[in-house]
């Protein structure tokens, strides 16, 4: 295989694996703040048990997130040297800001969060919990800003010639608030908060079905349900805003998301299959639906892939189409599920509806899939550009790194990440099966696991 494909597969694999963890850290961060805040407010030790239990699970996800995250920073230099040279002037400052403002905050307070229960005053501990949560939120901001600049570059100019050409900042805030940044930061935040809430929902639904830890599980489930419902609904709005932004700023990407080849009124597919050779989509569609969503009119023409030269179109239109549609479908399912659960809560039947609780046990996988496929659609839809309209992916990988070196690191990461994943799932399951406290004792108290 050639170096470009290997470098892309390696980046996709390592970042995809990394992205299992940060959304859980962000999402669980909010729940930990809520649980610990409730404990400080009510002095009810059930909330303390919940806060400590979820802190332990958070710690596990955080360690894996950190160790797989440093890989990403290094890979810019090792595998994408020409890209680093081109964007360093612009891209480096948000990355450095992430490190110094966000990662420092979360990593330092993490130590206090996990090990400081007996060493600090409750309020100091609570501040640390908030610090970790805010740090992880800020992290997302800077990373997504940098990625958004690759999608919709602004606030820069190109200086230098040939291989030494690079983008230099002319306006920092125009770079930070590039056209897609705000929409995408919100979209990523909300996706992460949903992922965390659904993990809490899943675990406590499982306890409720088993009849274990019933009282605290009801409390945790309801808090997480409120979080999940609010953010599943807001994701609808955020997703729409993102799509409108893509239509404005990256029309070729939007056309790929919907498999829209010919400029004209755009159809909206509920599901379908794109044949890139015949440029046809077969599936269930709402005629003019895409035009309506973008312009509130079924007839307004939408730019199709036919407006772009072949070498400027994403080559994997079907992959972009499918991943995007899976994400949207899952988003709708989560809204349906959470709203229905709220309805049953209102009817006071929530905890007696066993099939619904069972659905929540398994629903934990849905936000994870949505987060992954959403990013795949965003990144593959940007192709063939690594920086939209400025730098091609084929001009961005390290010229000096050889295919055998890439194969070596691929295999290395493949084996290590597989091992990490198995251990993560094993230890997570073990913690969950053990539960928040020792059931043998009459009083709920903190587990010594």
């Amino acid at each position: 295989m050639d170096v470009e494909i290997l470098a892309r597969i390696q980046f996709a694999f390592t970042v995809g694996f990394h992205y299992i963890f940060p959304p859980l850290s962000i999402g669980l961060g909010l729940l930990m703040v809520l649980f610990e805040g409730m404990y400080l407010k009510t002095k009810n030790t059930e909330y303390e048990v919940l806060a400590k239990f979820w802190t332990k699970i958070f710690a596990l996800t955080f360690v894996l997130g950190v160790s797989t995250g440093i890989v990403m920073e290094f890979e810019f230099g090792t595998n994408w040297a020409r890209y680093s040279r081109f964007v360093g002037d612009v891209f480096g400052s948000p990355l450095a800001a992430e490190g110094i403002f966000a990662f420092a905050l979360e990593s330092t307070f993490l130590g206090i969060l996990i090990f400081g229960w007996n060493k600090t005053k409750p309020i100091m501990h609570f501040i640390s919990t908030i610090g970790v949560f805010l740090g992880s939120m800020f992290s997302a901001v800077w990373i997504v800003v940098a990625n958004s600049w690759q999608q919709t570059p602004t606030g820069f100019e190109i200086r230098g010639e040939g291989a030494m050409a690079r983008a230099e900042i002319t306006d920092f805030w125009a770079m930070v608030f590039n056209p897609s940044a705000v929409d995408r930061v919100l979209h990523v935040w909300i996706g992460a908060l949903i992922a965390g809430a659904f993990l809490v929902l899943s675990v406590h639904a499982y306890y409720l079905l088993q009849g274990r830890f019933v009282e605290i599980s009801k409390k945790a489930f309801l808090i997480a349900l409120v979080v999940a419902t609010i953010f599943s609904l807001s994701q609808l709005h955020s997703g729409h805003a993102s799509a409108v932004g893509v239509a404005e700023n990256q029309p070729a990407k939007l056309a790929a998301l919907e498999g829209h080849y010919t400029t004209g009124p755009g159809d909206l597919y509920l599901l379908g299959w794109v044949n890139n050779d015949t440029q046809e989509v077969t599936g269930v569609k709402i005629p003019g639906g895409l035009s309506f969503l973008l312009h509130y009119d079924f007839k307004t023409p939408v730019v199709g892939l036919d407006q772009f030269a072949k070498e400027d179109q994403p080559s994997q239109v079907n992959a972009v189409f499918q991943t995007y549609h899976i994400m949207v479908a899952i988003g709708m399912m989560l809204i349906g599920l959470t709203l229905f659960a709220c309805f049953m809560w209102w009817r006071k039947k929530l905890f007696d509806t066993r099939w619904l609780l069972l659905a929540f046990v398994f629903a934990v996988i849905l936000p994870q899939i949505a987060n992954q496929v959403g990013w795949i659609a965003a990144e593959m839809g940007r192709q063939p550009w690594i920086v939209y309209g400025l730098l091609r992916t084929s001009d961005a990988f390290s010229a000096t790194v050889t295919a055998p070196q890439l194969m070596f690191s691929m295999i290395m990461f493949g084996i290590v990440y597989l091992l990490m994943f198995v251990l993560f799932v094993y230890l997570l399951t073990k913690k969950i099966l053990h539960g928040p406290y020792d059931e043998a004792s009459t009083q709920p108290s903190v587990s010594t696991l």
């Binding site: 710690a59 596990l60 360690v63 894996l64 950190v66 160790s67 797989t68 440093i70 890989v71 920073e73 290094f74 810019f76 230099g77 090792t78 040297a81 680093s84 040279r85 964007v87 360093g88 002037d89 891209f91 480096g92 400052s93 990355l95 450095a96 800001a97 992430e98 490190g99 110094i100 403002f101 990662f103 420092a104 905050l105 990593s107 330092t108 307070f109 130590g111 206090i112 090990f115 400081g116 229960w117 060493k119 291989a163 690079r166 230099e168 900042i169 002319t170 390290s398 010229a399 000096t400 790194v401 050889t402 070196q405 070596f408 290395m412 290590v416 990490m420 251990l423 230890l427 073990k430």
Partner: protein
């Protein structure tokens, strides 16, 4: 060109990045060093104490690496690109051990089986040592110069080119120095029989380090005379290399007087001074091309635009006090001897 205190922006950035990496080497240095001793402890409780002495802190220490890397990326993108792609294999190995070290700390005490804890103990200790070694190897390559070719791309090839004698000696120097540094840290964090053990081990570590320090100094004079020219240009600069043996001697004197915190401060100074000497030696170059002087990467041809360096200066001047405050708070909260409780690893 804009200046601060008479220094142009690229020079200021050279200093900032040097400071960040010195901070990183001192902080992750003690936990790499402590980890390297790990297998010398035989008792399970002692090993838990050893892991918990760095448990709440290693992650905060690694932040300095992330920030140093980010600053290098933003400040000197050309250097970042060439160094990281040119040192592909050592950096990949560095990542491998960084990951193994993190998960070893996290997973070790999650299961009671002996095979489980022993596996993670070994993985923790080996990765800690290898990380200390690799940091030195990469530094040795930078000091020695690399095959930088057209477009400032690395022109070498092959898996093991980074392993030449000089970088290897610098790697061993880094390993033994961090082990001495980490031993002093463990002496401060432990008590009783365990403390006695690390006190006697530490002495052997110190002797090894001194041997390597002398060897590396002689090798540097022999192999990289270009890095010494700065000291001939101004005799005052000799102060820094001459302070190194003073710091080393002081760290040992405090050690014999059982003042381990002061000893630790002196070993931190040793790391700092050695890196200052190295930075002075290469300045204003970042990476000398061994092929063609025209391809040498300097702070000027690698620097980002003045605008970016200015913005970053603002970010760093707000961020660095915060970073130092966080580090101090964490060190303060987890000060003193390690006591195992239910939140420990």
């Amino acid at each position: 060109m804009e200046t601060i205190l008479g220094l142009d922006y690229p020079s200021v950035w050279f200093i900032i990045i040097a400071v960040l990496f010195i901070g990183y080497a001192i902080l992750d240095g003690y936990d790499f060093g402590a980890g390297s001793w790990h297998l010398f402890f035989k008792d399970n409780t002692e090993r838990r104490i050893a892991i918990n002495s760095v448990g709440p802190l290693w992650d905060g220490n690694e932040v300095w690496l992330v920030i140093g890397g980010g600053a290098l990326f933003a400040g000197f993108p050309l250097m970042y690109a060439t160094l990281f792609s040119g040192m592909y294999v050592p950096f990949m190995l560095f990542l491998l051990f960084l990951i193994f070290r993190a998960i070893s700390i996290e997973f070790r005490s999650k299961e009671p089986m002996t095979w489980w804890t022993k596996t993670w103990d070994t993985s923790y200790s080996v990765s800690s040592g290898m990380l200390a070694l690799l940091l030195g190897v990469v530094l040795g390559n930078v000091l020695q110069g690399m095959q930088v070719g057209d477009n400032f791309d690395y022109a070498g090839a092959g898996f093991f080119e980074f392993l030449t004698p000089y970088p290897l000696v610098i790697g061993l120097l880094s390993l033994t120095l961090m082990m001495w540094h980490g031993a002093l840290y463990l002496m401060y964090k432990t008590e009783g029989a365990m403390q006695q053990q690390i006190i006697s081990l530490g002495k052997k570590g110190f002797i090894l380090f001194v041997v390597l320090y002398i060897a590396a100094t002689l090798f540097t004079v022999y192999a990289t005379p270009q890095n010494l020219s700065v000291f001939h240009s101004n005799p005052v600069f000799w102060l820094f290399p001459l302070l190194v043996p003073v710091a080393i001697a002081l760290s040992y004197i405090f050690y014999t007087k059982t003042k381990y915190v002061y000893g630790f401060i002196c070993s931190s100074l040793t790391i700092g001074l050695l890196l200052i000497v190295a930075a002075m030696g290469v300045f204003p170059n970042l990476l000398v091309s061994t092929i063609d002087p025209a391809h040498t990467i300097t702070i000027y041809n690698a620097a980002s635009s003045e605008k970016t360096l200015g913005i970053m200066l603002l970010i760093v001047s707000i961020g660095t006090p915060l970073l130092i405050a966080y580090t101090v708070i964490a060190l303060y909260i987890f000060r003193g001897k390690v006591k195992l409780d239910e939140t420990s690893y």
